[in-house]
């Protein structure tokens, strides 16, 4: 999948130029995934109380994991030309140790895009969304690349 060069900056610009705190986005993205697609909770048995939306929203392990996920996405934005290489180790981890169905990477990507729309409002134009859709699809593919 090719990212048109003129749109390479779209994900970077949204992240850098706005005052949205990385911490708040991380938390919102992760907690939203667990609420909107509850079956994803099965991967987080050790996280403690995920029994309700409010439990998820207040869970510190959810917040911490959200930070890990968005930090990885930050790496993706910095390495758009080599997503498969960047996510090689994470792909092996998600397949061999975590046993995560790659379909969930696409779900998380789409939830992230909804969170971005909430935060950026008018600035999240259809063109910027299209660039981000390509990015999350590329990341999902890269994360699934080492599955066997």
């Amino acid at each position: 999948m090719f990212v048109i060069p003129s749109r390479l900056n779209a994900p970077q610009c949204l992240r850098k130029d706005h005052g949205i705190s990385k911490a708040s986005m991380q938390k919102r993205n992760r907690e939203r995934l667990l609420v909107v697609y509850p079956w994803t909770q099965r991967f987080f048995d050790s996280f403690g109380n995920l029994s309700s939306a409010s439990a998820i929203l207040g869970n510190p392990k959810v917040k911490a994991h959200g930070k890990k996920v968005l930090t990885s996405l930050g790496d993706a934005v910095k390495n758009l030309d080599n997503l498969k290489g960047t996510f090689s180790k994470l792909s092996e981890l998600h397949c061999d140790k975590l046993h995560v169905d790659p379909e969930n990477f696409r779900l998380l990507g789409n939830v992230l895009i909804v969170v971005l729309a909430i935060h950026f409002g008018k600035e999240f134009t259809p063109e910027i969304q299209a660039a981000w859709q390509k990015l999350v699809a590329g990341v999902a593919t890269a994360l699934a690349h080492k599955y066997h």
């Binding site: 907690e31 939203r32 609420v35 909107v36 939306a53 998820i56 929203l57 789409n110 895009i113 909804v114 969170v115 729309a117 909430i118 935060h119 950026f120 409002g121 008018k122 999240f124 259809p126 063109e127 969304q129 299209a130 859709q133």
Partner: protein, 135 residues
């Protein structure tokens, strides 16, 4: 997939806040779908898909009106949507996602995780009813 009483309440309350803007949102969701998921354009080869297209706006209004109808008949979606054309493909999930993005962009304060979940379930139900007409 069954919608709980809470889901129905969340969807109804959220939809009421959209007011007359549903037509605009339906059009924006279509535009986002065509831009982000170009393969969906193959189903509209007979449309003018350029920016500001009146055909896209008209279809956006149809989408919005159908969804408003569905919101008012959540207890019997198959019957409510039965008059809709059979011409709906398995790519409806892309339109559903883009509709969520459109609504999130315009109503960020109202789309908390619970309402997001309810809307997602509702749109999945609508898509399921429409695509089941193929079989």
């Amino acid at each position: 997939m069954a919608l709980s009483a809470e889901d129905k309440c969340n969807v109804k309350e959220f939809w009421e806040k959209l007011g007359e803007n549903t037509k605009v949102y339906g059009t924006e969701a279509l535009v986002r779908t065509f831009l982000s998921f170009p393969s969906t354009k193959t189903y509209f080869s007979h449309f003018d898909l350029s920016s500001g297209s009146l055909e896209v706006q008209a279809h956006g209004k149809k989408v919005a009106d159908a969804l408003s109808l569905a919101v008012n008949h959540m207890d019997d979606l198959p019957k409510a949507l039965s008059s809709l054309s059979d011409l709906h493909a398995h790519k409806l999930k892309f339109l559903s996602h883009c509709l969520l993005v459109t609504l999130a962009r315009h109503h960020p304060g109202n789309l908390n995780p619970e309402v997001h979940a309810s809307l997602d379930k509702f749109l999945s139900c609508v898509a399921s009813v429409l695509t089941s007409k193929y079989r």
